[in-house]
Symmetry: C2
Subunit: 195 residues, 2 copies
C-alpha cells in the first residue's frame, strides 16, 4: 500500500459518494466506506478529520454553485426572480444530482451541522424567489412542491441524460408556475414557448 495521499483521499471520497447515494449519510458507516475502498476505518479517519468533514468535502462544489445562484437571485423580483430561480435550480439539481441524492431526506438534521449553516437560509430565499416573492399560500406551496419534487426526481432518474432531464424539468416548472403579478423591470419579452 502506502500510495500517494491524494490517490487514497480521492478513492475514499468516491466510495463515500457511492455509499451515501445508496444508503444515505446516517445509514452509511465509516466501516462501510472503508470496506468499499479496501482499507481500514482508521485510514478513512486519517484522511478526513471526521465523518462530517467527509460529507462537507463531498458537498463543497454543489454548495459553491448554490451560493452563486443565491447571489444571482438577489434583487430580482416577480417573474424575473421566478425564471432565474427555476433555470438556476434545475441546472444545479441536474448537475449535482448525485450530491442531492445522498441527502435524501436527511436535510433537516444535516443542516444543523456547522458546515451547512447557511444552506437553510439560502434554500428559503430560493423558495421565495421561485414563488415570485409572493405571500400567497398557493405560490409558496407551489414553490416548495417544485423544489422538493425536482430534487427527488434528480435523485431518482440517475440514468436519464442531463439535457433531457433538464429540459423536461424546465418545461414542467414553467407550466406549473402561475404567473405572478409583479412589476417587472422589463416587460416579459416573447419567451420561447415550446408548444
Amino acid at each position: 500500500m502506502a500510495r500517494a495521499v491524494s490517490e487514497t483521499h480521492g478513492e475514499i471520497l468516491a466510495a463515500a459518494a457511492r455509499r451515501f447515494a445508496v444508503t444515505g449519510y446516517r445509514g452509511t458507516s465509516l466501516q462501510d466506506i472503508a470496506r468499499e475502498v479496501g482499507c481500514s476505518k482508521a485510514t478513512v479517519l486519517y484522511h478526513f478529520a471526521n465523518k462530517e468533514a467527509l460529507l462537507a468535502e463531498l458537498m463543497a462544489p454543489a454548495i459553491a454553485v448554490l451560493r452563486d445562484l443565491d447571489d444571482q437571485l438577489t434583487g430580482l423580483t416577480g417573474a424575473a426572480a421566478q425564471e432565474a430561480a427555476a433555470v438556476g435550480f434545475v441546472d444545479l439539481a441536474v448537475r449535482f444530482r448525485r450530491e442531492i441524492a445522498l441527502l435524501r431526506g436527511e436535510f433537516p438534521e444535516l443542516l444543523c451541522q456547522p458546515a451547512f449553516a447557511h444552506i437553510q437560509q439560502i434554500s428559503e430565499r430560493l423558495r421565495d424567489a421561485l414563488a415570485g416573492h409572493s405571500d400567497r399560500p398557493g405560490a409558496r406551496i407551489t414553490a416548495l412542491v417544485l423544489l422538493a419534487g425536482i430534487s427527488e426526481a434528480c435523485a431518482e432518474f440517475v440514468d436519464v441524460p442531463d439535457d433531457e432531464l433538464r429540459s423536461a424539468l424546465l418545461t414542467l416548472v414553467r407550466r406549473a408556475l402561475e404567473p405572478v403579478d409583479a412589476p417587472l423591470p422589463q416587460p416579459p419579452t416573447t419567451e420561447d414557448k415550446d408548444s
Copy 2:
C-alpha cells in the same frame, strides 16, 4: 401507575408520532419515545413487539387509504387515471400529512421491512397513473416531481388548514399535468398504448 392498557398504548403511539415527525424514524430511539411518554423503554416494548411494529401501527390507517386509492385506480387510463390519481393522492397526503412527515426520506429503507412490502409497488402504480400511463420520460418525470413535492409540502405546511392546502395542491397539479392524449373515458379492455 398501572393504567388501562389501551390508555398507555395510545399514549405511546401519540408520543411516537410526535417524535418521528420531528427526528424521523431512525433518528428517534425507543428511549426518546419512553421519555416523552414518561415511562421506561421496557414499557414501550411491552406494548409493541418491536420498533417496527410501532411504526406499522402508526401507518396502518394511511396505508389502508392508500390501498383503497390503488384499487380505485385499476382500470382507469389516460386523463381519467391522471385526475383520479391527483385527487386521491392530494387528499390522502393532506389527511395523513403527519404520517407522511415521519417518513421523511426514509422511504427506501423502510420499504424493505415486511410490514410495508406492497407500498413500493402501489406507489409505482400511483406514479404511473398520474403520468396517464404514458411512457414518455417527460410525463414520468412530471408525475414523480408532483408526488414527491406534494409529500414534502404536506410534511412542511403543517399549520395550513386542510382544505386550503388541498385546493392549492389540486390547482397546482392540474396546472402542471400536461394533458395526455387518451380519449377513452372507459377502458374497453384494450391495451392502453399511446402512439
